[in-house]
């Protein structure tokens, strides 16, 4: 039963990882940007939530209503200015620029919030309580909630991309941005929208993370970015369901590793990551045609 419990915990954590990863996957899929600042942006989302809650006294669970749009706007603006300027030069420049952004963000957070760790919503009943099935399985309401949010977000994003007018434009631009221009589409605007979605989802993930764990300015690159990359690689680039699967596999591997030996948690996750990279480098669910 202990193992069943660990697998359940792993699956629930995997939802959070998928939420971290989907924006990373989207930005790479659409504009070929490997956003090394992605993890830091999640933490920015967490800190913005801390600030918003302090100022407006909005309930923790509803802070996303303010934080997500703010981060989406930031995403659009950053994409249309700094990241687009880098893209116009070269792919390598883009990598250096997002790395630079990561450094800038981390140091700015250190400056404003110090190196001490923060968290969100300790003391809130929904956030801290859990229920039990039998004697060994204990499920936190928060974990279940975050997993549900991740599934809803990924489903919504999938639906948006496959059915909506802007989703279609995003896919067209990802295929061939020059051909899209010939159809009157300003790909820079479409890139901006994709970045807004990526920043919005990662901010949501950052808030969720802040409710489950302590975070500090360095958490973004130390933990989140790596987990997001691992989830994307395991699941397969460009596939949102693959991202969810990748997140869940990573979460389960970590949970089982932790059960075997407390210090093997991260190791187990990365072993699965490496095995997938060797055996199936395109990821478990490769996007048809684009792989």
């Amino acid at each position: 039963m202990v193992w069943v419990n660990q697998v359940i915990q792993g699956i629930l954590t995997g939802g959070l990882y998928a939420l971290f990863a989907c924006g990373l996957s989207l930005m790479f899929g659409v504009m070929k940007v490997v956003n090394l600042a992605h993890g830091d942006l999640a933490i920015v989302g967490g800190y913005v939530a801390v600030g918003v809650i302090t100022v407006t006294h909005v309930p923790v669970l509803w802070s996303f209503v303010i934080v997500v749009p703010l981060m989406a706007v930031l995403g659009y603006v950053l994409q249309r200015t700094v990241i687009q300027a880098a893209l116009d030069r070269s792919v390598l420049t883009t990598l250096l620029v997002t790395f630079g952004l990561s450094v800038v963000i981390e140091n700015a957070l250190l400056e404003f919030f110090t190196a001490g760790s923060h968290s969100l919503g300790t003391g809130n009943a929904i956030i801290t309580s859990s229920f039990s099935i039998g004697s060994q399985i204990s499920i936190a309401y928060l974990g279940l909630l975050i997993f549900a949010v991740a599934v809803v977000v990924l489903t919504g994003l999938q639906y948006f991309l496959s059915r909506s007018r802007y989703g279609r434009m995003i896919r067209a631009v990802a295929d061939d941005k020059e051909a899209a221009q010939l159809s009157g589409i300003d790909y820079r605007h479409v890139f901006g929208i994709a970045a807004a979605i990526a920043f919005g989802t990662v901010a949501l993930a950052g808030i969720a993370y802040g409710m489950t764990s302590q975070f500090a300015p360095s958490t973004g690159t130390d933990t989140i970015l790596l987990f997001a990359f691992a989830a994307v690689v395991i699941g397969g680039l460009g596939s949102l369901w693959g991202t969810l699967l990748g997140g869940v596999i990573l979460g389960v591997a970590q949970a089982i590793g932790a059960q075997i030996n407390g210090s093997d948690e991260l190791l187990a996750g990365y072993i699965v990551f490496l095995v997938v990279l060797v055996v199936r480098p395109q990821g478990l669910i490769a996007r048809g045609g684009q792989a």
Binding site: D176, A179, I185
Partner: protein, 251 residues
């Protein structure tokens, strides 16, 4: 409004002294052309003559070093490609350039995203290419070359352009397929379009063109109505044969 004799002297598209460089290479050297409404203006020339560069520059995908492009009386030389597209210049690019992961229908929908008002709709394209409706849910990467070319033409048409730029429709297609596609031209022109096409296949270009211009290494070597030029002149201009005058044995 298109093809009206009264407006025949007002070009819908006018290129003046266009020079384009690819790095150090001078791809186009002071090219000028005037396309009148309703015309089918064909630019022929061998590989590397600068034909595609000319078309891509008119569409806004290359920046000229010198010269100007006027469309509908306005200077569009510095205007972004997507703005030119929405103002009525559509292009079927070389190699078709469909959105491979999108379906046939979605490709057409993208073409219609910022469409101008006009006769072309997705339904009308399905009528023009009768096979297309049944296969609208297929991804375009699963289509044959000729079918892809048809979708690419449809994607440009649904934008209801005033000027249609066709870049090497025949490229990589079987002759019978090329014939069929050029055979569609009268139906396409009937909607009042002006066409500027670039073609390596001279016989196809001559079949549909009302005006001919031949490029060689970025310069114009021949210009005129197809009825006014001889096959020998075209050949000489196309290949750059200096001995052309010696062959003028006609009376």
């Amino acid at each position: 409004m298109s093809g009206a004799q009264g407006e025949a002297s007002t070009p819908i598209l006018e290129v003046r002294d266009l020079t384009v460089h690819h790095g150090q290479l001078r791809a186009l050297d002071r090219i000028s052309l005037r396309v009148l409404p309703g015309e089918v203006y064909a630019i022929i020339g061998a590989n590397g003559a600068g034909k595609s560069t000319l078309l891509r520059t008119i569409a806004g995908l290359h920046h000229p070093t010198e010269g100007s492009i006027r469309y509908d009386g306005q200077d569009v030389t510095r205007i972004r490609p997507e703005r030119r597209a929405t103002s009525g210049i559509a292009m079927v690019p070389e190699g078709r350039r469909l959105f491979g992961s999108l379906t046939v229908q979605e490709n057409l929908q993208i073409g219609a995203t910022y469409a101008r008002k006009g006769p072309w709709t997705i339904d009308r394209v399905y009528e023009l290419f009768s096979w297309m409706r049944d296969r609208r849910a297929q991804r375009t990467e699963q289509l044959s070359g000729g079918e892809q070319q048809a979708v690419a033409i449809g994607r440009a048409l649904v934008a209801n352009p005033r000027v249609l730029l066709l870049d090497e429709l025949s490229l990589g297609l079987a002759p019978v397929v090329v014939q069929r596609i050029y055979g569609m031209m009268p139906q396409i022109l009937a909607s009042g379009l002006t066409v500027l096409l670039v073609e390596q296949d001279v016989s196809q270009a001559l079949r549909v063109a009302s005006h001919l211009q031949c490029l060689l290494e970025g310069r114009t070597t021949l210009e005129g109505r197809p009825s006014d030029v001889t096959a020998a002149e075209v050949e000489a201009a196309y290949f750059g044969l200096r001995s052309a005058p010696a062959e003028e044995t006609e009376p």
